[in-house]
Symmetry: C2
Subunit: 354 residues, 2 copies
Amino acid sequence: MREITADHMKDMARGAAVLGTGGGGDPYIGRLLAQQALERNGPVSLVDVDEVPDDALVVPTAFMGAPTVMVEKLPSGEETIRALRALEELLGRPVTHTVSIEAGGVNSMIPFVAAAELGLPLIDADGMGRAFPELQMLLPTLGGIRATPMALADERGNDLTLRTVDNAWAERLARSATVEMGCSAAVSLYALTGAQVKEHMVRGTMTLCERLGTTIREAARSHADPVQAATDVLGGRRVFTGKIVDVRRGTAAGFVRGDAVLDGLDEDTGHSLEFAFQNENLVVRRDGEILASVPDLICVLDTDTGEPVTTEFLRYGLRVSVVVAPCDPRWRTPEGLALAGPGVFGYDHPYVPV
Amino acid sequence: MREITADHMKDMARGAAVLGTGGGGDPYIGRLLAQQALERNGPVSLVDVDEVPDDALVVPTAFMGAPTVMVEKLPSGEETIRALRALEELLGRPVTHTVSIEAGGVNSMIPFVAAAELGLPLIDADGMGRAFPELQMLLPTLGGIRATPMALADERGNDLTLRTVDNAWAERLARSATVEMGCSAAVSLYALTGAQVKEHMVRGTMTLCERLGTTIREAARSHADPVQAATDVLGGRRVFTGKIVDVRRGTAAGFVRGDAVLDGLDEDTGHSLEFAFQNENLVVRRDGEILASVPDLICVLDTDTGEPVTTEFLRYGLRVSVVVAPCDPRWRTPEGLALAGPGVFGYDHPYVPV
């Protein structure tokens, strides 16, 4: 267990947005939200998975929706608390811990807001080891854990709860409600016991986020190569350095979808790279050939600063590097690929591990 | 109080579908559902509004969605019970009575199913004195009664609950969930006390349904004019007799919308009549001139049999008569017209009372 203060948030949000692979929300908004909550309420206890009692009641908190919308309709702690309390009421017993459902600039920070406001410990883990666009795409789903009961809350004061027959139905009904609520909503779902967290979540994600964020900041400050430094922490591979020359992006049905094209610079001059996204980056092609795809991580970083570039901030002229890195091994099983492999997103090519 | 058996259902469903003004569901499906429930569980006690204790907890039950879908995806008692139970759980105390939210071939019958299955008395009333397409269009809304907490249930086993800031938001969120659930869902909403029923509901609706249904059957059997007999019970006016020559109908966004054109027969030969609907009939024009509109009742009846013709069964060649009748006087107040007058449905003409 260690105490996390507002001072940690900038590095942690930066690293979370790297693991967010384009999605999971804007780290600037995420860290501001968490910093305010931590300054108001004092530090949050970050506990290791092994420190969590097996009978703990762990309730994750997150924001659902299109990140393009969340930069204009800002998430707030108020609806996060309402969503968590609504789920707690359904469960009929007090929540003991909160945790992040996915790594991302907003979705790794929202649990800090809930933890700070409610005085709950936060578990050093997440449900994916990255971010994915749909709520059933969580390692606990592979372990048979139900997403519901689930609660959604919007900024107006509307609350909604769900009990569904499976996690895909939770995604369908929650997505349509999120769209109606203005394309973003606070959610609380996948209530777990401590024992289930130990078995089905990814350990150490918050610490990895912080290490990634710190490494990038320090490399940039010391004029080292921040992209290379991040790549080393991820155990990944830099596949391209270039300039964004085209971005197509649309927000519909509760997601932002699109693709971007890069012209190569430096050693990649004369080559082209293209990647597609649905909130998160899905597939990356170099000169038309597939280099990597979900469930592996495809991270877009600012070449000079190493700062992660989320989907909503892709723009013409930006000089970025693309790094690919291996996902949690559970995503590479047949069951994992059936839940979040390329075929799920409509690609007919087989998954080739990074 | 009187006992209602399966034998009453055919007349009651027929009359309810007349008051449903095109919507509220198919009376054939409605009566089959209610008959089965009454045969299985015995009769239901129909109680007068004045017999309901002021502190009763009254929970209405209904089906929400597009009637065109409900004739293929049949409503069932199972999800009705789940919706009522989910709302009861939210309210935290036992339901004492159920009631119909609107008059309609299905929506007047569903409360009989709930009453029979759960052994609850049914109140002789409804929330509109007719049917309307959107859930906030209820007299209790005018009285400041909240539609939420509200529960929805589908046939797969998915349950959803809502607490919204107003009844228009309840409609928005429930409608999008209904669409996702396949365009029909069981709902339970507008929990009321007995005192609120006395003040804000329409008294005697179930008895009126039965009287209308009986009158039409008896007139048809004795070769009298069943349309005239129904018109007399409604205190309305027959405005047209003709043959349907055109129907446009589409199911989208959880409603069926469209319009129909009639060529006149008998004394209306040479004239034309047109009416538009959104689940329910909204506006009727004779030779282009508005004869009646919401919130007044526009009823389409089979000319020979007097049977009500709901929106989903309008078809070329059908010989029908159109009857208009006055709505509950509370709908004619400025507040009532602001909730369900022609302007709400996009018409710019003023309301002219029948």
